[in-house]
């Protein structure tokens, strides 16, 4: 389709959708459309042809059906905080924003579930559950703004996923508008629905298998006790061995987070978190659970830190102090803006035991290339967030930073890890997928995509470097096997 024809198709769609959604819910004004040109990864920008704000699943379905009829691609968007360009629009397509779907339908304490709209903000679920003594466990640092629909799509993690798992472990049901325009219920409040685990495959599929219009999540009982410490070490090596000692002793903390000297410097500049001076690395270790367990284990954790070179340990006396410990960590990404005009937030994973070695190699890489790297990470599960610093005003620095950032991913792969632990592949890392998976692996993953979206209109161009042509594989038999036909006829 030519560019003119494409935007013509989108405008025709706008006319068709206005009466269904209401005039305010369909944007075609260029300036307004520009607001949606990127998500949290601002390097990639594309102005969508059309932005729509459905209020209900039925409206969402109507939009998807209209897109199918017109052969126009569409992309879902929650709060737009994604860091891999997952919600990057298509210039010839429709951006379906869930911002008008923000109702928490039910806090069902007896069943330990909440039923929410996709646009509901992550933290709001916990806020509504707190008066009952419950909370929603996945807590990405962006939890004050990111949406549950976005969390589902990215299978988002958070500081506490070491102990409690990721979004996929906390979603028990999704209502989904599938790319064939149907509404399918996957799972519900009860667990273990019979059949293939469509829900398990849908969570983390980065918006490429449909749009979720209602989500059922688990609510957890708030822990009886929480203990948090901040430990300062001379080096990341020492901090890394302390983490190994803690985990090796059979302790499963709720969270273990590490920051290196440069990340600490940035956090101090931004939020004055008052971390111990002269620290080459700090660890935040949080334990939660029954008081009788936490008290006992917390003493052991402090000893492990001391035995492995912690020169100062602070224990949070109350929730205010705990929040202060976390403030430095949670603001770290943005804080780096204080010490560098530009930076890349990288997200890679290594086996936790490789941590000291990989950190040394990142430092060496940084030295060799003259590019500064600040490290903030979920140390308990080996999820690194190197922040690669550069100044775009200086020629060549952007490319250099990009190279270092890519080299860090290569290190993750070399050590048997992953190119993304929580931010997703999106538009950003599709090109790295062949470094981690074989062509056959990627082809097999795309079979799932073909089953859901043979026309390839649902968030196309994400995750996979080369799209698979559905239904055009040589040697495939589209007509059912005679035996199968006979068998099916027997069954029904």
């Amino acid at each position: 389709m030519s560019a003119a024809a494409a935007s013509g198709a989108a405008l025709a769609l706008a006319e068709r959708l206005r009466p269904l959604l209401g005039p305010d819910a369909v944007l075609t004004d260029r300036a307004q459309l520009r607001t949606y040109e990127c998500d949290g990864l601002a390097q990639f920008r594309v102005t969508p042809a059309l932005v729509v704000f459905p209020r209900t699943a039925a409206q969402c379905q109507a939009v998807v059906r209209a897109c199918i009829d017109a052969g126009v691609p569409y992309v879902a968007r929650g709060s737009g905080t994604g860091l891999s360009g997952g919600a990057l629009p298509r210039s010839d397509g429709v951006l379906i924003v869930t911002a008008q779907m923000r109702t928490i339908h039910q806090i069902d304490v007896a069943n330990q579930r909440a039923v929410v709209d996709p646009g509901v903000i992550n933290l709001q679920v916990t806020r509504d559950a707190t008066p009952h003594g419950y909370y929603y466990a996945p807590d990405p640092s962006s939890q004050q703004i990111c949406s549950i629909g976005g969390n589902v799509a990215e299978n988002s993690g958070g500081a506490h996923c070491l102990k409690y798992g990721f979004t996929v472990n906390h979603v028990t049901g999704c209502e989904v508008v599938t790319p064939d325009g149907e509404i399918v219920q996957m799972g519900g409040k009860a667990v273990d629905s019979p059949g293939y685990d469509l829900l398990g495959a849908f969570v983390g599929s980065e918006g490429t298998l449909g749009i979720t219009t209602r989500v059922t999540v688990r609510l957890l009982r708030a822990p009886e006790a929480v203990q948090t410490l901040l430990a300062a070490f001379h080096s990341t090596d020492d901090a890394g061995t302390a983490v190994s000692a803690i985990i090796g002793a059979g302790v499963l903390p709720a969270a273990v987070e590490m920051m290196d000297a440069l990340a600490i410097e940035a956090a101090e500049a931004a939020v004055a978190c008052g971390y111990p001076e002269g620290a080459g690395a700090v660890l935040i270790v949080e334990l939660d659970g029954p008081a009788a367990e936490v008290d006992h284990t917390f003493a052991a954790v402090q000893k492990h830190c001391r035995d492995h070179g912690a020169f100062e340990i602070r224990v949070a006396a109350d929730p205010v102090q705990r929040a202060l410990f976390w403030k430095g960590r949670k603001s770290a990404f943005a804080a780096v803006g204080r010490i560098s005009p530009d930076y890349i937030v990288q997200d890679g994973v290594i086996p936790r035991t490789a941590l000291p070695e990989v950190l040394r190699r990142i430092a060496a890489l940084s030295g060799e290339r003259g590019v500064r790297v600040a490290n903030v990470f979920h140390a308990g599960d080996g999820n690194l967030h190197p922040l690669v610093l550069f100044d775009d005003a200086i020629e060549g620095q952007g490319e250099q930073a990009e190279e270092v950032s890519g080299a860090i991913l290569d290190l993750c792969i070399e050590y048997g890890g992953s190119i993304t632990g929580e931010h997703g592949v999106g538009s950003d890392k599709a090109k790295y997928m062949p470094r981690m998976f074989t062509e056959v692996d990627l082809d097999t993953m795309q079979m799932l995509r073909c089953a859901f979206d043979p026309a390839g209109l649902c968030n196309p161009g994400k995750i996979f470097p080369t799209p698979r042509l559905c239904g055009e594989v040589p040697g495939r038999h589209k007509e059912a096997h005679p035996l199968v036909q006979a068998g099916v006829a027997d069954v029904f």
């Binding site: 009860a190 667990v191 059979g250 038999h477």
Partner: protein, 395 residues
């Protein structure tokens, strides 16, 4: 290979292949693809008669020779195993490092491949999650013989689709698992079971709600009702450091009432499926009591002895019936149970039953999203040659 295993739930396998390597598995599948042969994968064969019988089994693909623990990285709490490894021998090996895979072996002799393919979890799913939550990477040989991977060996990983979720519980209908990577947990220092007999469904509802709503963090919360109208035993497992377990068992004991007893051994029925006819029942947690009531009534109407137990804390129960239970009555019981499960927001699946029972009721029952599942099967196994007919909707 004994000939009784070559007989799959009444269907005679034409040939048995027992490859010794992943390459050999791929070779078998390539040959089968070329000659359009149907293939039924199996491990120890302990659950070959679960689901529906295959429509055809030109080849029984026995992976029990692939029984190596490939890699156990204790420091990373990760293990990579071949599918033929028995859960029990894996447990022995992991225990040397004071670690465990938090999946209970509810069917003795089960292999890892069989556990993954049937998504079979036991009591500890309350705290540790199910098979799909603990599986972090998988290698599967496709119907066309291609060797494919998904996930990896790090716990946190969102690169690409997580196909492990699809293979878990697929009964071999999408391909043959040749390797699985799991997240492990440390073996806790201490464990205790608090057990109480309760008179009726209402008392169970109150007790379960009280434990779940407390902050004791139980590892498991099981119930057992061996006779359909008899008392119901509730058992709660607590794990952790010794002083913690002591304090927490006292708290649970208070919640369960004066008859509660605390011990360091599991009750005899713990982690054992009832049977030999097995019906799996799911419900919203708060609707377990009405489901229990419904099962009691259905048992009375059909005059069947039904043994009900399971993970009340997550809303998953199993009903067991005798092998010689009247097929007609059993069929009626299944339909009644299915209606009660539906009312409770869940499903009833007949995991295992004689042909005479299955002839009367659909083992899988209604399934949401079946047309998507069909398309998925068509993609992965276009000729429908992998364990044909064993899975939902005749897939």
């Amino acid at each position: 290979m004994s000939s009784d295993i070559a007989l799959i739930d009444g269907v005679q396998a034409a040939a048995v292949a027992r490859p010794g390597s992943q390459d050999a598995v791929a070779e078998v599948l390539r040959t089968a693809a070329r000659d359009k042969l149907t293939v039924v994968p199996c491990g120890a064969g302990t659950k070959l008669d679960w689901g529906c019988p295959p429509r055809s089994a030109d080849i029984l693909l026995d992976v029990s020779a692939l029984d190596a623990v490939v890699e156990h990285v204790a420091g990373d709490l990760v293990v990579r195993v071949q599918p033929g490894v028995r859960l029990s021998s894996l447990a022995v090996e992991l225990a040397r490092a004071n670690q465990r895979l938090a999946i209970d072996g509810v069917v003795p002799g089960s292999t890892v491949g069989g556990i993954v393919s049937t998504a079979l979890s036991g009591p500890s799913r309350l705290l540790y999650g199910t098979v799909r939550d603990l599986l972090i990477g998988i290698t599967v040989v496709r119907a066309d013989g291609a060797v494919t991977h998904s996930g990896g060996k790090v716990v946190k990983n969102v690169a690409g689709y997580d196909l492990g979720k699809l293979y878990t519980g697929a009964y071999g209908s999408l391909g043959v698992i040749t390797e699985a990577i799991f997240r492990l947990h440390p073996v806790p220092e201490a464990a205790a079971w608090v057990v109480a007999d309760l008179p009726d469904e209402r008392a169970v509802g109150t007790a379960v709600a009280a434990v779940l709503d407390s902050q004791v963090m139980a590892s498991a919360l099981e119930i057992c009702r061996p006779a359909p109208a008899g008392p119901i035993t509730v058992a709660v497992l607590l794990e952790g450091v010794a002083p913690g377990v002591k304090a927490r068992s006292a708290a649970v004991s208070a919640l369960l009432g004066s008859g509660a007893a605390t011990g360091d051994e599991a009750p005899s029925w713990w982690s054992v499926l009832p049977g030999p006819i097995i019906l799996k029942l799911t419900a919203e947690i708060a609707l377990v009591p009405p489901l229990l009531r419904g099962l009691r009534e259905a048992a009375a109407v059909t005059r069947l002895a039904v043994d009900v137990r399971g993970s009340a804390g997550v809303g998953v129960l199993f009903a067991g019936l005798a092998a010689d239970a009247d097929p007609e009555a059993t069929g009626r019981f299944v339909l009644a149970a299915r209606a009660h499960c539906r009312d409770a927001g869940g499903f009833a699946v007949l995991l295992r039953a004689p042909a005479a029972v299955r002839a009367r009721v659909d083992a899988w029952g209604p399934v949401a999203g079946l047309s998507l599942m069909r398309r998925l099967k068509d993609e992965f196994d276009p000729d429908h040659r992998m364990a044909p007919g064993r899975f939902v909707g005749g897939l």
